[in-house]
């Protein structure tokens, strides 16, 4: 069983969050400490109420991983966590970035952890052409 350094919520459109979690389990084995919230459908207020309830259940630093920075999941995450410095929201999540959550070493503080993960997410995009790095 593997756990992230802080509680994590995958807050994404449709089946993306569950898909990322399932793919990560196929690589890392059983994972705990990660929840999934589906947004981008239904009433925004209902989604935000569910997100607020999750935050209530998880005091202390938490990480919210969303997909589109301009999407409604990210906007809801930002809106509900407004003023709460111990809630980190990272948009643009992909499988490499999610796996990096479990491979991160000790960090001085929560902002350093966030910065590290964001950098890993940016670095995870690679381009090949004809089978070789482009």
């Amino acid at each position: 069983m593997i756990r992230p350094p802080v509680p994590v919520l995958l807050f994404t459109h449709a089946g993306l969050g569950n898909g990322i979690l399932e793919a990560a389990r196929s690589i890392l084995g059983e994972i705990e400490g990660v929840d999934v919230l589906v947004g981008g459908c239904g009433a925004v207020e209902e989604t935000e109420d569910r997100f607020a309830a999750w935050l209530e259940d998880h005091q202390g630093p938490v990480l919210v991983l969303t997909d589109l920075g301009f999407g409604s999941c990210c906007q809801s995450a930002r809106r509900v966590s407004r003023g709460r410095e111990n809630v980190g929201v990272i948009a643009g999540i992909n499988l490499p970035a999610f796996l990096a959550v479990f491979r991160t070493g000790p960090h001085e503080d929560f902002p350093a952890l966030m910065a590290h993960l964001a950098e890993r997410a940016r670095q995870s995009v690679e381009v090949y052409r004809g089978g070789s790095p482009a």
């Binding site: 925004v44 920075g69 301009f70 999407g71 990210c74």
Partner: protein, 169 residues
């Protein structure tokens, strides 16, 4: 007029709008007509940051009437949060020839017309008034999906509140 499209969408700026609608309507700017947003600088910043490369103007519904009187550029795509706001816009004198309805989701008292269009009794009354005012009403969540003729649905009696199924989104 410079307004190229008008859309009612409870989420205002979000994925479907940025990725699908903005290129489809070929707009230069987004115009959000929303009284609450116009008075909240934090929310305004949030929406502006969500629009990617398309500049956003935010105005109250009353102020947004002037967008419909502009000529030429910019090509503006107007977004409203609710049918009540659209009706207010039309009542205030905005010449709105057509409005696209999408992303009006379930809330208390709303009944399901389409998967992305839940209507309260007041919403249906607003649609009737908009229909009488000559606004062409189209339901469509994304440009790639078929449009539903709402004026026709009203005329054919398919938008009777008591006959719509209750349900959750």
């Amino acid at each position: 007029v410079s307004v190229v499209a008008t859309r009612v969408d409870g989420r205002l700026v979000h994925g479907q709008v940025v990725v699908a609608w903005v290129p489809a309507v070929r707009c230069d700017r987004l115009g959000i007509a929303d009284d609450a947003l116009a008075g909240d600088s934090w929310e305004k910043d949030l929406v502006e940051s969500a629009s990617e490369d398309t500049p956003v103007d935010v105005a109250s519904v009353a102020e947004a009437v002037s967008w419909y009187r502009e000529e030429g550029l910019p090509r503006r795509f107007v977004l409203l949060r609710s049918l009540a706001s659209l009706l207010e816009l039309v009542r205030a004198g905005a010449p709105v020839p057509e409005a696209v309805l999408g992303g009006i989701h379930h809330r208390t008292g709303a009944r399901r017309f389409l998967a992305y269009l839940y209507l309260t009794r007041a919403d249906i009354e607003a649609l009737r008034e908009l229909d009488r005012a000559g606004v062409r009403l189209i339901a469509r969540d994304v440009p790639g999906n078929p449009a539903v003729d709402v004026n026709r649905a009203l005329a054919e009696g398919r938008l009777e509140y008591d006959q719509l199924p209750a349900g959750t989104s």
